[in-house]
C-alpha cells in the first residue's frame, strides 16, 4: 500500500531531475530551442484546455499571447522595468483584459462564444497594426532586451545569452503553469467547472454562478497565455502582429484536440507531438500542413478522445476481440 503511493511522486521527481539535467547533456542550441518551444506550447495548450473544462472553446489565445508580449516589451523598453517585474505583470494584464471582456462574452454560448473570441483576436491584431506609436505598427517591435541577469555570486550567473538559461526559465514557467492548473482542476473549483460544462442549467439550479465561474476559467487560462507571450517576446527579441493571428489560436486548439480534451495530460501530449512533427518533417516542410491535417482527420474520425485515449481504446478493442475469440 505504501509502495504504491510513492510511485507517482517518485516518477515525477525523476522526470524533473532528468529535465533539469538536459542542458548539461545536450548543448546544441537547436535542440534546446525545440524543447523551449515545446514548453511554451504545453503551457498554451494546457491553459486552453483549462478554459474548455468549463464548457467554452476559446480561439482568443493568440490575442492574449499578443497582449502579454506587447505589455512586457513596452514595460521593459518604455518604462524601464525589470523583466522579472514585467513578466508577471504581463500575465496579470492579459488576465484583467480577459476578465473585462469575459463578462459580456460569457453571455454567449457554444460556437458564438468561440466566434467572439476569434473576433477578439482579430481586433487585437488590427489594433496592434494600427497603433503605430505604441506598438510599432505592422513592423512590430525589435531589439527587445533579454531578461535581466540573475547573479548570485559563486552560485549562479544567468545572463540569458545562451539558450540554456531560457530553457530553465521555460521549464520553470511550464511547471508553475501545470502545477497551478492541476491544483485548481482537482479542487472543488475544477469540479464546478465540469458541472457547468455538463449542464449549465442544473449547476445554476443548485446555486452555481455559472457566468462567474466561466469568467474565472477564462481569466485564469488567459493569464497563462499572457505569461507565455511575455516569455516569447524576450526569447525571440522581436514581435509583430503577424505572429499573433488566428493561425496561432488554431494551432493551440489543434494541440489540445489531438492530445485529448478530456484528460489533463492531453494537451501536454498534443503539444509535444505536434511540436516535434515539424522538426521530424524538416525535409518536406511544404507538406507539413498535410501531416497536421492528416492527424486531425485521424483523430476526428477514429480517436475522438485524442492521443491520450489511445491506450483505453486499444484495450477496449483487445477486450472485444478476446470476448469473441
Amino acid at each position: 500500500m505504501n509502495k504504491r503511493k510513492l510511485i507517482k511522486p517518485l516518477s515525477y521527481s525523476v522526470l524533473i531531475v532528468a529535465l533539469l539535467l538536459v542542458p548539461l547533456l545536450i548543448t546544441q542550441p537547436y535542440v534546446l530551442h525545440i524543447l523551449i518551444m515545446m514548453a511554451v506550447n504545453i503551457g498554451l495548450a494546457s491553459s486552453l484546455r483549462f478554459i474548455a473544462t468549463s464548457g467554452q472553446f476559446s480561439l482568443g489565445h493568440a490575442g492574449m499571447v499578443s497582449i502579454g508580449a506587447y505589455t512586457s516589451a513596452l514595460l521593459v523598453m518604455k518604462l524601464g522595468l525589470s523583466f522579472w517585474l514585467a513578466f508577471p505583470l504581463s500575465g496579470l494584464t492579459a488576465m484583467c483584459i480577459a476578465f473585462l471582456v469575459g463578462y459580456p462574452f460569457v453571455r454567449l454560448k457554444g460556437i458564438y462564444f468561440t466566434m467572439v473570441t476569434l473576433f477578439f483576436t482579430e481586433v487585437i491584431k488590427l489594433t496592434a497594426e494600427q497603433w503605430r506609436s505604441l506598438t510599432g505598427g505592422v513592423a512590430g517591435i525589435i531589439a527587445i532586451p533579454r531578461p535581466n541577469a540573475i547573479i548570485i555570486p559563486g552560485l549562479l550567473n544567468a545572463n540569458f545569452a545562451s539558450k540554456a538559461d531560457f530553457y530553465y526559465l521555460a521549464l520553470m514557467m511550464v511547471v508553475f503553469t501545470l502545477l497551478i492548473l492541476y491544483a485548481i482542476e482537482s479542487s472543488r473549483i475544477g469540479m464546478t467547472f465540469l458541472s457547468i460544462q455538463q449542464s449549465e442549467p442544473l449547476a445554476e439550479s443548485v446555486g452555481v454562478n455559472s457566468s462567474g465561474f466561466r469568467v474565472l476559467a477564462f481569466s485564469i487560462g488567459c493569464f497563462f497565455a499572457g505569461l507565455d507571450g511575455a516569455f516569447y517576446c524576450h526569447y525571440l527579441s522581436a514581435i509583430a502582429p503577424a505572429s499573433f493571428g488566428f493561425l496561432l489560436s488554431i494551432n493551440v486548439f489543434i494541440y489540445t484536440v489531438v492530445g485529448g480534451m478530456r484528460r489533463f495530460s492531453g494537451p501536454i501530449m498534443g503539444a509535444i507531438i505536434l511540436t516535434l512533427i515539424p522538426e521530424l518533417a524538416r525535409g518536406v516542410k511544404e507538406y507539413e500542413p498535410f501531416v497536421f491535417a492528416g492527424i486531425l482527420l485521424l483523430v476526428i474520425f477514429f480517436l475522438r478522445g485524442g492521443v491520450v485515449s489511445l491506450p483505453e481504446k486499444l484495450s477496449k478493442i483487445i477486450k472485444r476481440r478476446v470476448a469473441y475469440a
Binding site: S187, I189, L194, Q198, S199, A203, E204, S205, V206, N209
Partner: protein, 256 residues
C-alpha cells in the same frame, strides 16, 4: 405569512400569454400540486419563479424577499431549488459525484483554500462527502453509487435528479414531473420518497401529470389552463370541479 407568494405573474411570448396574471401562495410545510393539461404553462411558471425566464409582469416573493427576475443561482441560494422535466444530470459524473457536485452551496471556500487544498477545504469536502452519502442513501441509490449518470435506467435518473436538488438543501422544492416515464413500481417508490422529503420539513410544489400521485400527495391543488388559474382547493374539490374536468377532457365530452 406564506413562504411563497406569487402575484400577477405573467409571461408573453410574442403575442401569446404562456402565463397570465397568476396569483397563488404556498405556506410553510405544505405540499401543493400544480396540475393542468399539456401546454398549460406549468413548467413556464417554474422557469419564471427560479430565474430561468424573465416575467413580463408580476412578483415572486419568498420568505418576505422579492426574488423576481433574480438569477437562478441566487434564487437557489435563498432556498428555492427546482428539478427539470427532461433528465438533466451531470452525465459524465457517477451517481455519487453528481450529488457531491450539487453540494456546491455547502462547500464554498475561498479560491486559494480550494486551490491549495488547505485543511479547511479538505474538512469541508469531508462534510460534503458524508452529506452526499446520506442523501444517496435516503433516496435509495446506494446500489448504483459508481454508475455514470448517463448509463442509469430512466427511473433511476429521475430519482438522481431529486437527490441532486436535495443536495442544495432547499426550503422550497419545485419538482417538475418527477414521475414522468416511470412504471407503476418506480412511481410508487418515488411517491414514497417525495412524501419522506416532505415529512422531513421541506415545502414542496409539485407539477405532475400522474393524477393518482398528485391527489395522493398534495393537501392542496392548483389547476392551470392556458396560463391561468382555473381552480384551487383540496384534491376532492378539484376533482369534482366542472371547469377542471372540461379542461382535461376538451369541449363537448363528459366522463361518466
Amino acid at each position: 405569512m406564506p413562504t411563497l407568494e406569487v402575484s400577477g405573474l405573467t409571461k408573453y411570448f410574442g403575442g401569446l400569454a404562456a402565463v397570465n396574471e397568476l396569483d397563488f401562495h404556498v405556506r410553510h410545510g405544505e405540499m401543493v400540486g400544480l396540475i393542468g393539461p399539456n401546454g398549460a404553462g406549468k413548467t413556464t411558471v417554474f422557469n419564471l419563479m427560479t430565474g430561468f425566464l424573465r416575467p413580463t409582469k408580476g412578483k415572486v416573493v419568498f420568505k418576505g424577499k422579492d426574488v423576481t427576475s433574480q438569477k437562478p443561482h441566487f434564487i437557489a441560494e435563498t432556498g428555492i431549488v427546482r428539478t427539470f422535466q427532461a433528465t438533466t444530470l451531470f452525465s459524465d459524473f457517477n451517481v455519487l459525484k453528481n450529488i457531491i457536485a450539487a453540494c456546491y452551496l455547502k462547500s464554498k471556500v475561498r479560491f486559494w483554500e480550494a486551490t491549495f487544498h488547505t485543511s479547511n477545504s479538505r474538512k469541508k469536502e469531508e462534510h460534503v462527502l458524508s452529506r452526499a452519502l446520506e442523501i444517496m442513501h435516503f433516496v435509495g441509490l446506494d446500489a448504483v453509487k459508481d454508475h455514470p449518470a448517463r448509463r442509469l435506467p430512466h427511473g433511476y435518473k429521475r430519482i438522481l435528479g431529486i437527490a441532486v436538488s436535495m443536495a442544495a438543501d432547499p426550503q422550497l422544492l419545485l419538482l417538475d414531473e418527477p414521475l414522468s416515464g416511470m412504471n407503476v413500481e418506480e412511481a410508487d417508490k418515488a411517491v414514497a420518497l417525495i412524501r419522506r422529503i416532505w415529512e422531513r420539513g421541506t415545502t414542496i410544489l409539485l407539477i405532475e401529470h400522474n393524477m393518482r400521485a398528485a391527489m395522493n400527495l398534495c393537501q392542496r391543488i392548483i389547476v392551470l389552463e392556458m396560463g391561468r388559474k382555473i381552480a384551487e382547493g383540496t384534491p376532492e374539490e378539484v376533482r369534482a370541479n366542472e371547469e377542471v374536468i372540461q379542461a382535461y377532457l376538451g369541449t363537448g365530452k363528459h366522463a361518466t
